[in-house]
């Protein structure tokens, strides 16, 4: 299982590096992938931050509270986590484009 997972991650990385840079930046996320990310955002981010993003062990992530934070630093928090807290790095499971998509969803406000 773990081997397969690691292999598929490596495969993903290789595939990404084969893509022309412009394409990997420009290609929009598929509708299917967006649905998966939305589910991940509400259910799995929601495990700590609350299904309504009003906070739990992790801080609240409502649009009002995120308003004064830079989008780039929020994306970096998703990708690399916050050492010393329970926020893990998600870079093994998400790429930067996907992390950015999730931050944008949070900035719009999500409801389960």
């Amino acid at each position: 299982m773990t081997v397969t997972k690691i292999a598929s991650q490596f495969f993903g990385v290789i595939m990404m590096s084969l893509l022309p840079l412009s394409l990997s930046v420009a290609a929009p996320l598929s509708t299917e992938r967006q649905a998966t990310l939305e589910h991940l955002l509400i259910q799995d981010c929601g495990s700590c931050h609350g299904l309504r993003m009003t906070g739990g062990l992790g801080p609240a992530l409502t649009p009002q509270l995120l308003a004064d934070k830079s989008r780039e630093s929020l994306i970096a928090t998703v990708m690399f986590g916050r050492p010393g807290t329970a926020m893990p790095p998600w870079d093994a499971l998400l790429n930067e484009q996907e992390a950015a998509w999730m931050i944008d969803r949070l900035l719009q406000g999500v409801t389960p």
Binding site: S47, G50, G56, L57, G81, A86, P88, W90
Partner: protein, 394 residues
């Protein structure tokens, strides 16, 4: 005319009563609650025939909701994320009382005598205690303020303990508290400080003697012997992951009940895909069992012959069953994506598993390791059976 209406109404009421199952006598020993966390509803279920009896709605935000039961096992107290505390009559399937007691809560407990309900809150950090009948506030215990003074510590790991006590751990300030309500409703608080970095959850042994807090911020656990609180909190499993790099933890593990078989206790490692085994006489680690992912719940079947484990994202489609004697993995089951919780029937012949992304609660036979039944449920999370009413620390 008035009299005729009266008669018709009365006849209607009688018919309604006769037709309602709630007026038939039944016990509550086989009842339970399934949390439908996104919908803010719960199902009342029974495990003699594996059916849903009713759904109760309007419970607010049930992210991370948990349940305790009244000592007559008729009422379920549901603790919601939005600070809601809801008392449900499982026989009539109605909300008996509901209050919003805090801003953001994590779980609660019922006192030894069944008269008090305590809730641990993230916001405002602290503990609130209520009369179990009326849900009127009895005591309000603010948490220690965090170092920068901005707020109170988040409170986790709330359990009841013998002697009319509640125990909690403070995530941000690294403390364990005993709140003793045996003398009056103004509790005597005993605070143990510097117990370790970021206690994330706790459990109590079934005899009510040992309280153990898991640490997120460092490798180890904190042990308090309630027979000898004067001896203070002792560090156990210290540095269990020595030398190996921690893996990301995509969901916080839970400690629930006490997973012990013979002289061995089984607990989730943090940041390692392992279940740790320790000797309960010496509290030293005696082994570890490799698992398919980051363990979340590590639960012993009531006869302690098997240990069942579920996992954090992205491995939450699996459940592994461990032989408690040989520590071998007996089976890797795949109930489906989003396994969030498991609950054994009181004597352990079945286990109910919530499978969030399939919208199902599954009933498995623990002897054959086969799935027996499926009940539809809306994003189910916690499953709680009423036999918890009579168990210390649950």
């Amino acid at each position: 005319m008035m009299r005729r209406i009266g008669t018709v109404v009365l006849a209607g009421l009688l018919t309604a009563c006769a037709g309602q199952p709630s007026t038939q006598l039944r016990g509550t020993g086989d009842l339970g609650i399934v949390i439908e966390r996104a919908a803010g509803s719960v199902q009342i279920v029974e495990h003699s025939h594996n059916t849903t009896l009713a759904r109760v709605e309007g419970l607010g935000d049930l992210s991370h909701a948990s349940v305790v039961f009244s000592r007559d096992a008729r009422f379920a107290y549901v603790f919601g994320r939005d600070g809601g505390l809801t008392k449900i009559d499982m026989l009539t399937a109605k909300i008996d009382k509901r209050i919003i007691q805090g801003g953001n809560s994590i779980g609660g407990a019922i006192s030894q005598d069944g008269r008090l309900i305590a809730v641990g809150n993230y916001e405002p950090g602290g503990v609130k205690v209520f009369d179990a009948d009326t849900l009127e506030l009895v005591a309000d215990i603010p948490a220690t303020t965090v170092a920068d003074g901005s707020r109170g510590s988040r409170v986790v790991g709330m359990v009841d303990a013998p002697g009319q006590k509640f125990l909690v751990s403070l995530f941000d300030t690294g403390e364990i508290w005993i709140a003793d309500f045996s003398k009056s409703n103004t509790p005597k608080i005993t605070r143990f400080t510097n117990i370790g970095d970021q206690p994330y959850d706790s459990m109590l042994t079934p005899d009510g003697r040992y309280y153990i807090a898991g640490l997120f911020g460092e490798d180890g656990m904190a042990l308090l012997d309630l027979w000898h609180p004067e001896k203070g909190v002792k560090r156990i499993l210290d540095g269990y992951g020595r030398g190996s790099e921690k893996l990301p933890v995509y969901k916080m593990p839970h400690l629930e009940g006490w997973t012990v078989a013979g002289d061995h206790a089984f607990v989730p490692a943090i940041g390692r895909h392992k279940v740790l085994v320790m000797d309960t006489n010496t509290w030293q680690q005696t082994g570890s069992i490799d698992t398919v992912g980051q363990p979340v719940f590590v639960m012993a079947r009531p006869d302690a012959r098997q240990i069942w484990v579920n996992f954090a994202f992205p491995d939450n489609q699996f459940v592994q069953v461990i032989d408690s004697e040989t520590h071998e993995i007996l089976a890797t089951l795949e109930p489906g994506p989003g396994v969030l919780h498991m609950e054994f029937t009181p004597r352990g012949e079945h286990i109910w598993i919530s499978v969030r992304d399939k919208g199902e609660v599954q009933v498995w036979d623990t002897a054959t390791l086969k799935k027996l039944h499926t009940l539809p449920a809306d994003n189910p999370s916690g499953i709680f059976f009423s036999d918890r009413a009579h168990r210390i620390g649950l």
